[in-house]
Amino acid sequence: MSGVTPGAFAADRGLASCHCCGKLSPVELGRCPRCATPLHLRKPHSLTRTWALLVAAAVFYIPAMSLPVMRISGIGGGEESTILSGVVTFWQTGSYPVAIIIFTASVLIPILKVIALVWLCLAASGRASGSSRSLALTYHITELVGRWSMVDVFVVAILACLVQLGSVMTITPGPAALSFAAVVILTMFSAMSFDPRLLWDQRRNVRIPTH
């Protein structure tokens, strides 16, 4: 925290940096003079939105894990596979790389991402602590890694496209595929609505209105 004097923070002077182009302007202008994006000292209702989207993502995670992600129909009748049963099958048949990729992308990343965002939200409202370095790292990883969870949805799309062998074997997407896409999209929006500057406001013990 060296080198920064009180009042050195933009919000204390009524300056807002544009969410879109980064230009620093007085918040009274209402809109960024450079790109016309509405100006806010902090992202509006950041914590409420992040929490709400997180809860929604957690709700969709239940059908995403319990319902079948794809249906395999063929001569030997039909078969449904969930994300987890798919991982188990791959592991048992010795396809360790596929099992690990799917488990990481579909199970590990979404859960860790939700935990990370919960921790960030708690830290931003003063109910959890953490060093600024580890919080910053968590925030960046959360931003970067979320999209990779979509890999399972694409696998279903690719298999549904390729495996259309009439009566022999056909793969169709199951209801979990859409639920899972919803989980990924909701957590991405959740991470986007989190404002990391709230972590520093908490550290400095100031409260900037977020509307």
Binding site: M1, G3, V4, A8, F9, A10, A11, R13, L15, S17, C20, C21, G22, K23, L24, R34, C35, A36, T37, F90, S95, P97, V98, I101, I102, A105, S132, A136, Y139, R147, W148, M150, V151, D152, V153, F154, V155, A157, I158, L159, A160, C161, L162, V163, Q164, L165, G166, V168, M169, T172, P173, A177, L178, A181, M192, P196, R197, L199, W200, D201
Partner: protein
């Protein structure tokens, strides 16, 4: 002007510009950087902005190549699969079509957005924006395009699709006879070019250049760091 200071190629409308860290909100001066330099926050050490070498020509080059690879990736299938006397083809459109035909129109729509619309918007938007900026010009609607590029960036998921493709291959490997086509190599190249195009230019640099191009108007020479 920049010809006399080749290192300081990043023009700025207001030479005394200050910036606030997007991470901690600390206000600090935002000097122009030499190519290759990075400005970090004095409070939290986040990257504030950076001047990437030859940013405009790099972004333009990658975006132009991305156009070619987009066309190729859409004109040729990624692979054909031969099994049980049936032959199927895979492409970006075909994958979305399969989802639609299997009764999942919403998933098909998302697939189209993430693998076709967002990457194409990024490529076309970058070209429209960055190529004229090399000559200090901004085409009509450039500001809206710049905002659009920024909005669609996180939703362009071709590289994730590519990972899904590899996983699917590992899954199918023993089931069928698989033949790769030009479309696949075009897709790989497109992923590389998009990453290069987006990584080639700093967000603030793009906006600074755009601001100057718009101030100097369509028929006047750009005047970087006007005072």
């Amino acid at each position: 002007m920049k010809r006399h200071h080749p290192g300081l190629s990043w023009p700025r409308a207001d030479p005394d510009e200050r910036t606030a860290c997007h991470f901690c909100d600390a206000v600090q001066p935002a000097p122009r950087l030499r190519e290759g330099e990075v400005a970090r926050c004095g409070n939290c050490d986040e990257v504030l902005y950076q001047n990437r070498p030859r940013s405009l020509s790099r972004a333009t080059g990658f975006a132009l190549a991305a156009v070619v690879f987009t066309i190729l990736a859409h004109s040729f299938p990624f692979l054909t699969m031969q099994a049980a006397s049936e032959r199927t083809e895979l492409g970006l459109v075909a994958a979305a079509e399969a989802l639609f035909a299997d009764g999942d129109p919403l998933l098909a729509l998302l697939s189209v957005l993430f693998t076709i619309v967002a990457p194409t918007l990024l490529t076309a938007g970058l070209l429209y924006l960055v190529m004229p900026l090399i000559y200090g010009r901004a085409l009509p609607g450039a500001t809206a395009i710049a905002r659009l590029i920024q909005r669609s960036e996180p939703w362009s998921m071709l590289e994730v699709f590519l990972l899904g493709f590899i996983v699917s291959l590992l899954k199918l490997g023993h089931l069928a006879e698989i033949e790769f086509h030009i479309g696949l190599w075009a897709l790989v190249a497109l992923v590389v070019c998009l990453a290069g195009a987006m990584g080639g230019i700093d967000r603030r640099e793009l906006w600074d250049r755009l601001e100057i191009a718009r101030m100097s108007g369509p028929d006047t020479k750009p005047e970087p760091a006007a005072e």
